[in-house]
Amino acid sequence: MATGDLALGQEQGALNARSRVINDFSINVATVNGSGSQSANSVLLKSIFGMGVPVSGKNLFPSNIAGLPTWYTIRASKDGYVARKRDTEILVALNPETAQSDFMGLPAGAAAIYEENMNLKQHRSDVVCYPVPFDKITASVCPEAKLRKLVKNMVYVGVVAQLLSLDLAVVEKSVKKQFAKKQKVFDLNFGAVKAGYDFAQEKLVKQDPFVIEKMDQTAGKIIIDGNAAAGMGAVFAGVTVVAWYPITPSTSLIEATTDLLKKFRVTPEGKATFAVVQAEDELAAIGMVLGAGWAGARSMTSTSGPGISLMAEFAGLGYFAEIPGVIFDVQRTGPSTGMPTRTSQADLLSTAFLSHGDTKHVCLLPSSVKECFEFGYEAFNLAERLQTPVFVLTDLDLGMNNWMSDPFEYPDKPLDRGKVLTAEDLKKLGGFARYRDVDGDAIPYRTLPGTDHPKAAYFTRGSGHNDAAGYTEKPDEYQAIMDRLTRKFETARTLVPAPIAVKDSGSKIGFLAYGSTDFALRESMDQIKKEHGQDVDYMRIRAYPFAHEIHDFVAKHERVYVVEQDRDAQLASLLKLDLPADQVTKLRSILHYNGLPIDARSITEEFATKEGL
């Protein structure tokens, strides 16, 4: 007979169809860093995805190799909400160190699965408790003691799958995909899933209301993290030189790029059509990017805040000497080391003006894995078209977590290699002036080293130069270059990804946001409508310099809330520099900067307070 551990009263625990919560809850898996729970978490996520239910996963991990607590939250949402949710309804407590506090943090009516000797149920009675003898079950399916730590995670997958009524065949498929082509590993892991599932079926009585039911919301969708997507964008942009220095959370972007380059960019003779260099530091990484961009390569690096700081001097050179290059910044909290494994959007201002002197940079701001791919691709076109470093700012939440997405579309347009004069061009022209605005768009022409014409060469320098690239300290010549660079930035304004009016219903109140804030904000807008009856408009910013549509959006609204994940309202500050003076006072800020991804409830609450709702 089944012996569920009933912490709740019989009446409360009895489930019926009406009280069931279907496809709308979060699971929090608490483990110890280094215990190998990632595969299990991924299998569970992909199993829910396989059930056709919109799902997202977030890894909340410490800056540590092994031993510190780590949490993974999986959110199933029939409405397609994929932002972090403040509360989680199901706890899988596998870390004795945090089990009690994790347990106490659950909302009433939640469910907890834990190693039976933790005896959590003594602490409160308003949570459904499922004690499970994980070690015993694991030992029974995994004779090899040293593998048990890893296999134990799969047992939890089985228990959760049974309790949530996941289709075991769907779970099996996910396990198979996770351990593709390794039959023995699959057998061991699926054996563990099955043992957990069987245990739950025989010994636990379902008393919580949370279940997964099949939907058709994920057909044709993919699951990928933003770093892998951005790397893919770079590869399909034909990147040839990659220079980088390891730093969390951007390292996996380079790893994904490198894997794809090895897969797709080796000739039949076994030669590489790319070079990846692990540089000695970020100063060298950006130097290599600019050297390569100067000599004609599509070059990139990827880093996070501390690396961005180190790249500052070179960024100014790239801007002033007009050299293409792509820099991905997967933002994490700062300043300094900050919390390296926590998310943030606090590099925006420092990146937009990175360097000394009068410098400003084109920044692309993707807000989904699909845009990580698209902007990862488009950044190279813009860098070469505009002859300037282009920054792509994502963040840890977008970059390192798994997101559901429509499949990426192949970029059909040919690559835009920008204004490069060949030897034949020079033969016709008889020469050229490197920094002269010939076309009226403030973008000059350049030549590449190796161009076989006696007039092809020019002297690249960070010191004052005139439009023929000659050294100058003459006030008017220097200022003419600086003014042209300003005009070039205006050209950039028209070329960068335009903002998207997500909602434009004629409300008096508007929202502006960028990047990973988008998910939480869209959910919050639904909450605001449902709970306060208030319609609000929303324009999603996708690049700096800001397109004119953003000015128009602000002009149209009485109050505009700028929602962002940093302390100092950096996006709002940047907007204030750009907006006409009479528009500036319309801006208000909703800020989130505790290292966790922003959630809808926090936005809704702060909005309601500020609006006096």
Binding site: K221, I222, I224, V235, F236, A237, G238, V239, T240, V241, L260, F264, R265, T267, G270, A272, T273, F274, A275, V277, A279, E280, D281, L283, A284, G287, M288, L290, G291, A292, G293, W294, A295, G296, A297, R298, S299, E313, F314, L317, P407, F408, Y410, L415, T447, L448, P449, G450, D452, H453, P454, A456, A457, Y458, F459, T460, R461, G462, S463, Y471
Partner: protein
């Protein structure tokens, strides 16, 4: 009747030396750097290097201005202080078919640029790296650099009490495959070394003592013309015969160390010090260290290795420049993306 002026002397690719010249130098009259620029012009001319096939790289400082004063027909990149190595690395990755010559100074290399310098050596990046070494910061008016010898004196009377970094010993130890020291005032030696440098495949590191006439050419300086004239101790006499030259010289093989370069030219090092073997790393470093003890400034080719793979070899890239590969080779087809997408579903 006026006779036509004789056609200027041309090199073996048909260019006169004027095609290798640069802009007018803005450095001080008598600066050693100007002499080095002249030798670079001579070497490139005599080797018949197409100027369009050369990239001139530099950092910041007096030395780093000098690429403007030679070879105006070559692309040049005057970058940021101490970071010419990374810019050069990137440029060479984009186009490894070019001849790359970098000009740095002792401040640019041995202080602010040390981090990048050592990694360039370690990678054996195929380029010529010249340190125009005068022991002082010129543009900021005469502070000691890290190659200033211990006990040497500034014009102001300040004595340097820190040991000099021997960039040659460092280069040998860290992986450069052609390492030598010369003196801007020794035309013959410097020209031969530069020509051999052009023929070499790998990192060539040449430390060229180049007196600063304004801030470091006085009594008490160890980087002055006078000091060098008195203390220059060549370890070998450097001779170079290019692959296209048809010169046969008889020499006593016991007295000359001959190195065949990968392009078929020949570097001949006449032994001046007993049994010095320029292919023995440990011996080279030991000899340099011993010279410091004796207050000698050794010059000549200290170390050469023509077999070690370069960074480009290690990266196993295609023969064509990466930067200008056609889209058909750099952008995977639609089927590749479709397969990736299917796998993520």
């Amino acid at each position: 009747m006026a006779t036509a002026a004789p056609a200027p002397k041309t090199n073996h690719i048909g260019l006169p030396i004027v095609e290798y010249r640069g802009g007018k130098s803005t450095l001080c009259a008598g600066c050693g750097h100007n002499a080095i620029s002249e030798r670079i012009i001579d070497a490139m001319f005599e080797m018949g290097v197409q100027p369009e096939r050369v990239m001139k790289m530099s950092g910041i400082g007096c030395s780093s201005k000098s690429p403007a004063y030679f070879m105006s027909r070559s692309h040049s990149f005057n970058s940021v202080h101490g970071r010419m190595p990374s810019v050069s690395t990137g440029a060479i990755l984009a186009n490894h078919t070019m001849t790359t010559i970098g000009v740095s100074g002792d401040g640019d290399t041995a202080s602010i640029g040390m981090g990048q310098f050592v990694h360039l050596l370690r990678r054996n990046l195929p380029m010529i790296y010249i340190i125009e070494d005068n022991g002082v910061y010129g543009l900021t008016k005469g502070q000691f650099s890290a190659t200033a010898d211990i006990g040497s004196k500034l014009k102001t009377g300040v004595i340097n009490d820190l040991p000099a970094i021997d960039t040659c010993a460092l280069a040998i130890q860290l992986g450069a495959t052609f390492v030598g020291r010369s003196f801007s005032g020794d035309k013959k030696q410097l020209l031969a070394m530069l020509k051999a440098a052009i023929a070499h495949k790998g990192t060539v590191m040449l430390d060229v003592i180049s007196p600063c006439v304004t801030f470091n050419d006085h009594e008490g300086s160890t980087k002055s013309y006078k000091f060098m004239q008195e203390n220059d101790e060549p370890i070998n006499e450097v001779g170079f015969v290019a692959s296209f030259e048809d010169i046969s010289v008889d020499y006593d093989s016991g007295q000359v160390y001959e190195v065949e370069m990968h392009d078929g030219s020949s570097l001949r090092l006449r032994k001046l010090q007993e049994d010095y073997d320029p292919t023995n790393k440990a011996e080279a470093v030991r000899t340099l260290m011993a010279a410091h003890e004796n207050n000698e400034v050794l010059t000549g080719v200290f170390y050469i290795d023509t077999s070690k793979p370069t960074f480009i070899d290690l990266l196993n890239v295609v023969d064509e420049p990466l930067g200008t590969l056609p889209e058909s080779l750099t952008r995977p087809p639609k089927s590749a993306l479709d397969a990736l997408m299917a796998n993520l579903q």
